[in-house]
Amino acid sequence: MDDEWKPLLASERAGESYPDRGVMDSLDPKSKRPFHVEPRNIVEDDVPERVSAEASVMSSRVHYYSRLTGSSDRLLVPPDHVIPAPEEIYVYSPLGTAFKVQGGDGSAKNPSIVTIFAIWNTMMGTAILSIPWSIKQAGFTLGIIILISMGLLTLYCCYRVLKSPKSIQYTDTSDWEFPDVCRYYFGAFGQWSSLLFSMVSLIGAMVVYWVLMSNFLFNTGRFIYNYVHNVSMSDSEFGTNGTDRVLCPFPGTDQGSNCSVTVIFLNTNTTGPTVFDRWWSKTNTVPFYLVILLLPLLNFRSASFFARFTFLGTISVVYLIFLVTLKSIRLGFHLEFHWFESTKYFVPEFRVFFPQMTGVLTLAFFIHNCIITLLKSNKHQANNVRDLSVAYLLVGLTYLYVGVLIFASFPSPPLSKDCIEPNFLDNFPSSDVMVFVARTFLLFQMTTVYPLLGYLVRVQMMGQIFGRHYPSFFHVFTLNIFIVGSGVLMAKFYPNIGSIIRFSGALCGLALVFVFPSLIHMISQRRRKELRWPSALFHSFLILLGVANLVGQFFM
C-alpha cells in the first residue's frame, strides 16, 4: 500500500480535493484539524445570527484578561457597565447557531400598577390606626391641611432620595441604596447615622407592634371569654348605648376642658376583678404571653417564610376601610365647626397640638430607606416619579378617608371628640363582632410582619457591627431579648402608641426624610456649581422643618 511510503511528518499538499482521499489514517494532518461546523440553523430557514465584531473582541479581551490574574482576584473582572445588556447576549449552540437570551437578567420587571401597589402596601402600616387621633390633636381643618401638606412634603423628599444616586458621577451606583449614598457624601458618619436612624424607625415600629399585638390579643381573648361565658361588659365601660357602641375608655382626661366628668361605677352586680381579669390583663400579663409565641420566631435564621404573608396586610387595610365605611354609615356624621375655642364635645378646628400630627404623619409616609430598591424593579424606569406620586396620592387618600370618616362619625353629643383613642379600634367594645374580626386580622398580620422586622434589624445591625448576618446564636438572642424587652416594657408602662409613633417618626424622619436628602441635594448642586439662592433657601427651610418637627414633639 502506498501509505507505507508516506514520511512520518508529511507536509501537507494543499489544493488537493479532499473527497478524493481514500482512507484517512491517523497521521493524516487533515484529520487533526480542529472540530469545526459551519453555523447553520437546523430549525428554521432564517439566516443565523452572527456575533458582532464588538462582542467578539470583548469576548477575546475577557478571555485574555482572565489569564492574567489569579481566579479569585477581582482586579481584571469586567465591571457591570461594560458587560452588554441581556438583550445583546448570545448563546452559541454546538451546532453553530447563535440565539439571543430571552427574558430579563433575573430581577423581575414589574408593570407600573404592581410597583404602585407594592409601594402602597409597604407604606400602609399601623399608623393608619392613629390618623383619627392625630386629626383630633391637630383640629379637623388643620388636620386635613397638614395631612395634604405632609404628603406633598414627604413626596418631594422621597423624590430627592430617589434622584440622589444619579447625581454621583464616575461611579457605578446601580446597586446603591440611600445609606450608601449617605456614606459617599458624609463618609463613615453618614453611613452610621443613616443606619442608626433607620434602626430607630424599625425598632419604633416593633415596639408599636408589640403594644398593638398585646392590645388585640387581649381583646380577642376577652371577646372569646365573654362569648363563651355570656358576660356583658356594657355597664362597666363608658360609652354610647345601642347596637353600635362607641366607647370613651378614659373620660375626663381631655385637655383644656372646663368641666370634669366624674365617672362612678355604680354597678353592684359585677364582682371585683375576676380570676380571668387577673390572668388576662392588657398591660400586666398579655405582653408576657406574647413573648412565648414571638421570641422563638425571631431567632430563625431566614425570614423568607414570613414574607409570604404580606397579603394579610392588604386584606387588613381593605377590611379596615370597609369597617370604617360601615361604621360611619351607621353612626352618621357629627361635625360642628368651632374655629379656635374648644367646647364640651368638640375640639377647635385649629389646635396647638398639631406637631403631634406631623410626627405621626412622618412615620405614616415613611418609605425613604427602601424606595430606591422598590422602584428598581419597575419596568419603565422613566415612569418612576409618576408612579411614586400616584402611590403617595393613594396612600394619602386612604389615610384621609379613614381619618376623616372616623373623626366625623364619632358620636359627639354623648361623647367628646377628645375621646378618640390613638388606636381607634380601642373606641369600640370588645364585644363588637366586626371590630373583633378586624383585630384578629391585624393580629395575624402583625404576628407575621414582626419576625420580618426583627430580621431586618438583625441583618442591618449584625452586618454593620460584626460583618455577618448571623454571628452566633448568642449575639442574635441578646439582640432579640433587647427588642422584645423594650416592647414588653412599653406595653406595660406606656402603651400609648400615638406617642411612640410620633416620637420615632419625628426622630427618624429628621435624618432620613428632611436633613439628608436636602443636604445631599445642595452639596451635589454646589459641586456642579449649580446651587442657586432659591434652591438653597428652600432646602435649608426643609431641614429647619425637620428639626422643628422633632423639637415640637417634646413641647406640644
Partner: protein, 315 residues
C-alpha cells in the same frame, strides 16, 4: 553596541491606583500575582525584566502618593529615575477628584524630565474612560487634553484616551510604538512591496514583546476592524500558556480551505503575520519568502549604522 551600556527607559508613571499595573500586565502579558490594590503603591525596581522595542526597559513608578516614604524615596532617587528616559507615559485617572494635585505631580515629573532627559517623548493617557458616560467622553477628553498641552510647554505631549475595556488602550499603545520607530515610513513601503511580491492578502508587523501592530498592509477591505487586538490577545494568551511549560513561542501556521496564516519571528524586535487567501500556494513557498525578506528587513534596521538602529535614536 553602545545601547547595552546605558539602557534607555520607558517610564510609566501616574498616581497610585490609576491603572498602571493593570495596563502593563495587559500590554506585556505579565501575570499579576497579587491583588495590587491591597498592597498599596507599586515600587518598581530599575531592573525590570520587561523589554520593549529591543533594548528599552519599562519602569513603573507611582507618582504622588500620600505616603511620605514614597515621597522621600522619590525625591532622593529623582535624578536616577529620570536619567536616560526615552519615553514618558503618564497615566491620569479620569475619575480622580484631585485634578489640581494630579497636574502638580505631572508638572514636577516634567521638570525632572527637562533636567535629565530633555529629548524624551511625552505621552499622556487619560485612563478609565469607561467610567464616564458615553455622550460625555469626547467633551471631557478634549478638556483634559487642552489643559495638559498647555501645562506641558515647552515639551510637546501627545494625549490619548484609554480604557482597558475597549479598543482604545490597544490603539493608544500602538500609536505610541509607531512613533518610537524612527524609519517607520520606509518600513511601511518595504512591507507593501513584500506583500505584493508574495501575493499576500494582508501582512502585519508586530512588536515582539507586546504584539502591538507597528505597521500593516492589506490589499482589500477587511470585515473586522478589531482583528489586530484579537490576534494580539490570542497570541499573548498562547505565550502565557507556553511560558508555563518553560517553552517560548516562535512561529505558528494556521490553515483551512479558505486561507493560510503564518506568524513568525521577523527581525530582532518584530514578528510578522502573513495571510494568504490562495490555498494553492504551498506553505514552503511562503516560508521561504518570509525568510528572505527577513534578511532584507534586518539590513534596513541597520542601514543607518549603529547609532540609528530601530530602537535608539539621538537627535
Amino acid at each position: 553596541m553602545s545601547s547595552t551600556a546605558m539602557k534607555k527607559k520607558v517610564l510609566l508613571m501616574g498616581k497610585s491606583g490609576s491603572g498602571k499595573t493593570s495596563m502593563r500586565s495587559i500590554i506585556f502579558a505579565n501575570y499579576i500575582a497579587r491583588d495590587t490594590r491591597r498592597l498599596g503603591a507599586t515600587i518598581d525596581v530599575e531592573h525590570s525584566h520587561v523589554r520593549f522595542l529591543g533594548n528599552l526597559v519599562l519602569n513603573l513608578w507611582d507618582c504622588g502618593g500620600q505616603d511620605t516614604f514614597m515621597e522621600n524615596y522619590f525625591t532622593s532617587q529623582r535624578d536616577n529615575i529620570f536619567r536616560n528616559v526615552e519615553v514618558l507615559i503618564y497615566v491620569f485617572d479620569v475619575e480622580s477628584r484631585e485634578l489640581e494635585k494630579d497636574m502638580h505631580y505631572y508638572q514636577s515629573c516634567l521638570e525632572a524630565i527637562l533636567q535629565n532627559s530633555p529629548d524624551a517623548k511625552v505621552f499622556c493617557l487619560v485612563h478609565k474612560m469607561d467610567l464616564v458616560q458615553e455622550d460625555q467622553r469626547d467633551l471631557i477628553f478634549k478638556e483634559r487634553e487642552e489643559d495638559l498641552k498647555r501645562l506641558s510647554r515647552p515639551l510637546a505631549c501627545i494625549c490619548f484616551r484609554t480604557s482597558i475595556w475597549d479598543e482604545t488602550l490597544y490603539k493608544a499603545w500602538s500609536s505610541i510604538v509607531y512613533q518610537l520607530i524612527p524609519n517607520v515610513q520606509q518600513l511601511e513601503s518595504n512591507l507593501r512591496n513584500f506583500a505584493q511580491i508574495i501575493e499576500a492578502d494582508e501582512v502585519l508587523l508586530f512588536e515582539r514583546a507586546t504584539f502591538l501592530v507597528i505597521s500593516h498592509y492589506q490589499c482589500r477591505e477587511q470585515r473586522d476592524a478589531h482583528r489586530f487586538e484579537k490576534i494580539s490577545n490570542i497570541i499573548k494568551q498562547f505565550k502565557l500558556s507556553c511560558s508555563k511549560l518553560a517553552a517560548s513561542f516562535q512561529s505558528m501556521e494556521v490553515r483551512n480551505s479558505n486561507f493560510a496564516a503564518f506568524i513568525d519571528v521577523f527581525t530582532s524586535n518584530t514578528y510578522v503575520m502573513v495571510i494568504m487567501s490562495d490555498p494553492s500556494i504551498p506553505s514552503a513557498a511562503t516560508l521561504i519568502n518570509i525568510r528572505n525578506a527577513r534578511k532584507h528587513f534586518e539590513k534596513l534596521e541597520r542601514v543607518d549604522g549603529p547609532k540609528h538602529s530601530l530602537h535608539m535614536r539621538m537627535r
